[in-house]
Every structure is written in C-alpha cells, then in structure tokens.
C-alpha cells in the first residue's frame, strides 16, 4: 500500500477528537474515494495526512515510512500532491507563474521544470489562452483547471483531493473526474473526497464512508454502485 492510515485520532486546539480512530489505505494506480456528511471529518483527515494538523494518536505511513511528522512543505519532495479545500491559486500571479511554482520542488532541474510547464500548456487550451493573465481574473472553473494541472507537474505518486468538483458546471465536473482517471492511468494513487457521492463511487476502486469521525462502511466501490442512493440516504 502506498498510504496507510491506522487508528488515527485528531482534534483541533483543545477540543474533542474529530477523528476517533480512522483506518484507511490507498494503493498505487488506484482511486480511493472518501465520502461523508458535512462535518464528518473528511477535510480534517486529509489535512492531517498532509502535515497541517498533528495527530493525537495512530500512525500515517507513506511507502511504509512514517510520515506523521511531515511538514506540509516536504509533501512535494515526497511525491505527494494535495488539493486543499477552497481555492489555492495565487490570484495576483499569472497562470504561467502559478504553473512555474508547481515545479518548485525540482526547480533546480531547469530543463525538466520548463518542459513540465510547456506540456501543461500543450494539454490545456484554456490555460494556453490565459498564459499571461493573472490567475485571480480567471473564472472559478478555470482556476480549478489551473489547480489540477499545477498539481501533477512533478508526477506525484500520491494525489490527495479535497472536493475537486465543488462549484463546477456539470461539464467541468466530468473533466475533473476524467483527469482523476488519467492520474490513475499514470500510476498515481488518488485519494478523493467529494460531495458528489455518485461521481466518487463511479471513479473509485475502493470506497470509504466517514461518519462522526469513524469509518462506518468500506469496500470495493463496485459493490456500492447499485445502492449508492441508499448509502447517501442512510449515512450522509
């Protein structure tokens, strides 16, 4: 397993535990979906894996190595990409500058960094047309495309996505999930949290349902595909 979370306990400030012993794993070349009601602790889990929160108990292993003390700034060097909740473009920087910053972890390999940025422009006509435009002037959907492209510039081995389809048009939601399938095809392990349970279930190999800080159901996504509505009704 690429990522293994065991018995994870996390909370904010001096409050009670938000995650009360979570087990979850993500394999390479696969998509793992995580769904759950508002406030279940999905974002908290991702933030903890990515080093923004410190665990109170349990273990987080990436490639069998403990990453419980990882700083967020070390993610990229480990080959972990993280789409945090909300917006993460740099609005005052141009689209090109945003992409260049996506190559920060290997900026010293100039040719490779340059090539990665150019490839992103070749693949996305939307970004190509806005190359010198400030990212803050793009539409919400265009910003999300920029975030997704920036995420994969250094060929991450693990991609962690927090609500990638939030606020997007149906067409763009489709594009985002196609992009996720592409990441899997490129060999990455993907952990995706999203509001749209149906899309997550369809895109995933394995599915987890988080409820009040605990995993209440898990299994191969295919086994849920015909009863996803029931799942949403009962647990989300």
């Amino acid at each position: 397993m690429l990522l293994q979370v065991r018995e994870l306990k996390v909370g904010y400030a001096s409050g009670a535990d938000v995650l009360r012993g979570v087990d979850l794993s993500v394999g390479a070349s696969s998509v793992t979906g995580l769904i759950g009601a508002n406030g279940a602790g999905k974002s908290t889990l991702l933030k903890t894996i990515c080093g923004f929160l410190r665990r109170r108990g349990g273990a987080i292993a990436f490639d069998a190595a403990d990453i419980g003390k990882l700083q967020p700034s070390q993610l990229a060097a480990h080959g972990i990409a993280y789409l945090m909740e909300g917006h993460s473009v740099f609005p005052g920087l141009t689209v090109e500058e945003n992409l260049i910053l996506g190559t920060w972890a290997f900026r010293k390999e100039r040719a490779r960094a340059k090539q990665a940025v150019e490839r992103a422009f070749e693949l996305s006509s939307v970004l190509r047309a806005k190359r010198k435009v400030k990212a803050g002037l793009l539409s919400g959907g265009q910003q999300r495309i920029l975030e997704m492209e920036r995420l994969t510039l250094n060929d991450p081995r693990l991609v962690i996505l927090d609500e990638p389809s939030l606020g997007l048009s149906p067409k763009l939601v489709h594009e985002v999930f196609e992009r996720i399938a592409q990441m899997k095809a490129d060999g990455a392990g993907v952990l995706v949290v999203d509001q749209s349970a149906r899309h997550v279930c369809a895109a995933s190999d394995h599915l987890y349902v988080l409820r009040l800080g605990e995993i209440c159901i898990e299994g191969p996504a295919a086994s849920f595909s015909d009863r996803i509505d029931e799942l949403v009704r009962n647990f989300i």
Binding site: A81, P91, W104
Partner: protein, 296 residues
Amino acid sequence: MFTADVLIQLTIDGVSRGAMYGLMGAGLALIFGILGIINMAHGELFMLGAYAMYFAAMVLGVPAPIALLISTALMFCVGVAMERGLIAPLRARLGSRWLVDGYVLTIGIMVVLQNLALIVFGPREFGIAAFWPGRQEFGDVVISNERVLILAGALFTTGALALFLKKTNLGRAIRATAEHPAAAQVLGINIERIYAITFGIGAALAGAIGSLLLSTYPAYPTVGGEVLLKAFVVVIIGGLGSVWGAMLAGPLLGLIEAYATAFAPGGWQNTITSLLVLAVLVLRPQGLFSRQVTRP
C-alpha cells in the same frame, strides 16, 4: 523666475528622493504582505544602515561602493536575525493570535534600537557632505554629482528589486507566500525561510537607502522617525501591502514635495502631503495604484 533648469533640477531631486521613499515603502509592504504586520522598526533599520555606512566609509576608509555593499549585506543579516530571533518565536508561540503582539514587538524593537544607538553613538549626527563632490553641467542645467549618484542608486535598486520579484524563483515564491502561504507550502516552499529572507530583504533595502542618503540624512538615533513617516505615506498612497504601488507612489510623493517646497509658501509642504494622504484614504482607500484582484 522658475526657468527650465530649475524645473529639471526639482524633478531630479524629487524623483531621486522619492524613489528612496518608494523603496522604504516597498520594504514595509513586502514585510506586511508576508507577515501581516507593519514593521514599526523599519526606520531604525534605515538608521543602522546609515551608521554602518558612515563607519565603513569614513572610519574604516572603505571605498563608498564597497561600504554600501557591506552595509546592505550587514542589514540583510540583521533583518534575518530579527525575524528568526524575535518574530518567529513569537509567531510560533501565539499561533494565529500573534499579530497584535507582533506589532507591539516591532515598536519595542524600535525603542530599543533608538536607545541602543544613543548609548553607543551618542546624540551626535554622523554625516558627510557628499560621497562624490562636484557637479555636472548639461547646458544651463547644473546637477550636483551627489544627486546623480542618489538618482542612479535609487533607480538601480528599484529596477533590481522589481526584476528580482518578477523574474526569479525566489521572488515568485515570496509573492506566492504573501498571497496564499498554505498553497505555497504544499508546492514545497519552506515559508519559514521565505519569512526570514523577506524580512532580510526589507532590512537590506532600508539599510541601502540609509547608506545612500547619508549626505541628506546623517546618522543619529532618531533619524528613522521622519523616514518611517515618509514610508507610511508612500504605503498609503500606493496601497497597503502593494510593493509595486509603493515603488510608484515614492517618486510621486518626492515630486510633490520638491515642487511644494519650491512653489508653495514655507510650511505648506507637509500640509500638502497630509492632504494627499487624506484624499487617498477617503476617495481611494485601496491606494492609487493597486488593482483589486478578487476571487470568484
């Protein structure tokens, strides 16, 4: 009475001095953009730079350009040390509630540095007449060499700062960290390092300007006060936190001051500046040169 040569002289005077204000403001804006605090000790960094320049050039007899480099490099280190030694520990201890304390901390640094300078150097002014005595004549226009030097220094530093922020990896990382520190971290940027370097750059700018302006503002313990005031004006006109705004607002303020001194009755200079600040605050609080880029 005001012939072309006088106007040209006033313009050069205004732009060169104003560009210095602009750089002081740019340093303030850089630090504000990254750390979210107004560095009240910025004038004291200017003051330290001026002393360093005086001692390197006049006491040790180092050639002026090298003395300038020494004082700038020294002030960069002072800035980094201040951030690492005083500001970072406070931020680490207080988390998100550190801003007010951070602000008070810089006031404390200001007072300590002023008094330290008073104890070590006394109230005496350490100044020089000019690094480069003499003057240039272009037809009717006569410009002192010192003015040429200050103008060149100001324009060079402004250009170098702009290029650095715009074109280098580190410059982009500084801008990115100011806009979205968490996203910058996720891309691998060590923002603690960026904080320290940015503070160092702000201090180095203040130190370089304190050095370059030694013939205008001699080094003495409270010289920073007046300069900090100019930097504030520049930051308000240019838009709080806008480095580019500050770089543009500086020369504008310098020009207004220069013309006001020449054309308005004595004492009006500061009034005109204050009116400008008031007008900007009332009519365009985001600053003259800042364009709002919003999120959808």
